[in-house]
């Protein structure tokens, strides 16, 4: 169940923004989303994100490609339709290696890309939820999930953001299932 009510704080400077994230997390307030116009150095540490596991997917997809290429070529060249090519053996491993390499790279690249897109819900036709259009221009946004919060808690977050240097704090409410 996705939330529909949010509190959005907007900053105009990355350093202030990074410090604010540290202070807000120390208060025990969960941050739903962080949106910046460019990659901010050290942001993932400040947000306490775990290391990405995309490498592991790359390895798994790559290993799949290697296995598939080797088994398929072995099946074709050695068992199904053995051909004598230039007097080379029926299982010419060295000439399989370039294709195996290519397929490994292809599988891991495509696998990583697709995993990334699916994980970030970036499939075609999806309408994204936009918290503030200026996050692609000059504003750094912190989004808090306000579905379960009382009015008092919301106000507390808002005043905290303002005291941490937010230039603007606002409520953002989406219609049911709008842009999911």
């Amino acid at each position: 169940m996705e939330s529909n009510k949010f509190v959005v704080g907007l900053w105009d400077h990355e350093e202030v923004y990074l410090h604010a994230i540290g202070h807000i997390r120390k208060k025990g307030i969960a941050i739903y989303e962080s949106l910046t116009p460019f990659p901010v150095h050290g942001l993932e540490n400040a947000l306490g994100y775990r290391d990405t596991r995309l490498h592991t997917t790359a390895f798994i997809f790559g290993a799949t490609g290697t296995t598939l290429a080797l088994t398929f070529m072995t099946w074709v060249m050695t068992y199904n339709y053995p051909l004598n090519v230039g007097g080379k053996p029926y299982w010419p491993l060295p000439s399989f290696i370039p294709i195996t390499f290519e397929l490994t790279v292809l599988f891991s690249a495509w696998g990583m890309t697709l995993t990334y897109l699916v994980r970030n819900k970036l499939w075609p036709g999806r309408v994204p939820r936009i918290f503030d259009k200026r996050t692609t221009d000059d504003r750094f946004a912190l989004v808090f999930d306000a579905e379960q919060l009382t009015e008092a808690q919301k106000n507390e977050i808002k005043s905290l953001c303002t005291s941490e240097g937010a230039v603007e704090v606002k409520d953002k409410v989406f219609a049911e299932n709008e842009g999911l």
Binding site: H41, G42, E44, D51, G86, K88, P94, S95, I97
Partner: protein, 467 residues
């Protein structure tokens, strides 16, 4: 915080012991009852070439970083530059090996023999112009002089106190660009002159590149080990796991690059099956030991870093990355061993005896002689030599054995030696001692960290986030 490296008497003594081990190794080879001359000179050639390459790559790493506005290597700059101190004498040692070869002290280079003793065959005609002794030794001397000059000039230049001055900075870029040009030419050419020419008939068009990758792996590995050593002694306080991570990534990348070139070279020659190219591989895969060392080198230099260094944690852990670096230094020595030792392992006297025997007219050997004549395109009517009957008899046996093994093998006498023995390890240790002595000696002259470098502040804050 200690700023300038102190070359302690204890360390000096350790390095002298290592050099002593090298001398013992050379003495073993000199005094060994059999003809071990080729083995001795192969050892010296492989080690000199290897450590000269590491030194050259040290200068290259600094130059490439400098012209690319790089900041990642600033704290290790003096280490890279100090690696090059061996290249100051290494080039001249290589030229010395060639001079001794032309003078007939050793027989590593087959084509010297061809020039002086037998008519030039069509397949080597153009090569013989390139390998005319004066031109050959002359150009190696030119490379050696250039390396020596650049090593001294770069070391002095990066010790200047006014490096933040834009004019001086610009001049440093020019200097580094000049070195890259010199390096690109001399590095390829020295690999042809010293290693590829060991097998006169063999061509490999990516050999310069391949050697570059080998130097690269060895130089990154050596730098990692030296950084870890210096940190353990309390120097280089500002170097942390981020810097080692960068070096580890380069080590990993160059290992994969090396494997790519190794496989390229092998696969194309395996597939094309051109005689003068395949003879190179027949010599290696034909002898059991070298087949083993070839695959050993491939396992250490490719599979080991691929599986061991891929994870982020491995590159940031000093113990793990240090172990990998040490393995790769040995692995790339084994690689050069494969190139040098097989080619120079043929027994010179056995070659002569076999030639004489070939003309005697025994059934098996007639075939050999015919094959040799067809290959050389010449006929010789010499009288059979009667002396040294026992040796000749053994040669016949070997010729027959060779015949049974395969055509290419039959034309070559047996190897006089094979394998990495205690002598190889001792000589390698000795050269490592000389290399490290020159390294530490150079490092102790100036502060380790280049305080005046414009990129120092940026490098101190280096943070490696990905991979």
């Amino acid at each position: 915080m200690k700023e300038t490296f102190e070359f302690t008497a204890k360390l000096k003594r350790t390095l002298f012991y290592m050099m002593g081990a090298g001398v013992v190794g050379i003495l073993i080879l000199l005094l060994y009852p059999h003809n071990q001359h080729a083995r001795l000179w192969s050892n010296i050639l492989a080690c000199t070439y290897y450590f000269t390459g590491i030194g050259l790559f040290g200068m290259f790493a600094v130059s490439a970083g400098q012209i690319a506005y790089g900041s990642w290597q600033t704290l290790e700059k003096r280490i890279f530059l100090s690696l090059s101190s061996f290249a100051r004498i290494g080039g001249f040692m290589l030229a010395g090996i060639l001079i001794l070869g032309v003078l007939g002290v050793h027989n590593l280079y087959e084509h010297v023999h061809t020039i002086t003793h037998s008519p030039v065959t069509p397949e080597t005609t153009t090569k013989m112009i390139y390998f005319a002794p004066a031109f050959w030794i002359g150009r190696v001397l030119v490379y050696a002089t250039l390396w020596c000059i650049f090593s001294i000039v770069l070391n002095n230049f990066f010790a200047r106190t006014d490096q933040t001055d834009p004019k001086v900075y610009k001049r440093s870029k020019l200097l580094c660009a000049a070195f890259i040009v010199v390096f690109a030419v001399t590095e390829s050419a020295i690999s042809w002159d010293m290693i590829m020419s060991l097998d006169t008939g063999w061509y490999s068009t990516l050999f310069g590149w391949y050697n570059f990758a080998s130097y690269g792996c060895a130089a990154w590995a050596m730098t990692i080990l030296l950084v870890i050593y210096l940190k353990s002694k309390g120097y280089l306080e500002r170097v942390n796991e981020n810097h080692v991570h960068d070096l580890g990534k380069l080590l990993f990348g160059f290992s994969i690059f090396w494997s790519y070139l190794w496989f390229d070279q092998f696969m194309l020659q395996w597939f094309a099956n051109i005689p003068e190219e395949t003879s190179f591989w027949v010599k290696r895969f034909g002898t059991g030991y070298f087949k083993f060392t070839i695959f050993l080198a491939l396992a250490i230099n490719f599979l080991f870093p691929l599986l061991f260094l891929m994870k982020r944690g491995a590159k940031r852990n000093f113990k793990v990355v240090g172990f990998a670096a040490a393995m790769l230094i040995v692995g790339h020595y084994i690689d050069f061993f494969n190139y040098t030792f097989v080619e120079s392992g043929w027994n010179k006297e056995a070659v002569e005896a076999k030639k004489k025997e070939a003309l005697k007219g025994s059934e098996k050997v007639v075939l050999y002689a015919q094959a040799a004549e067809e290959k050389k395109g010449t006929t010789t009517d010499a009288t059979p030599a009667k002396e040294n009957t026992a040796a000749v008899a053994s040669e016949v046996k070997e010729a027959k054995k060779g015949e049974a093994e395969g055509g290419e093998e039959a034309e070559k006498p047996e190897l006089t030696f094979s394998g990495i023995g205690i002598a190889e390890m001792l000589v390698f240790t000795g050269f490592l001692g000389v290399f490290l002595f020159m390294f530490f000696n150079n490092l102790a002259k100036r502060p380790i960290i280049p305080e005046n470098d414009p990129y120092l502040k940026e490098n101190e804050k280096l943070e490696v986030i990905y991979s």
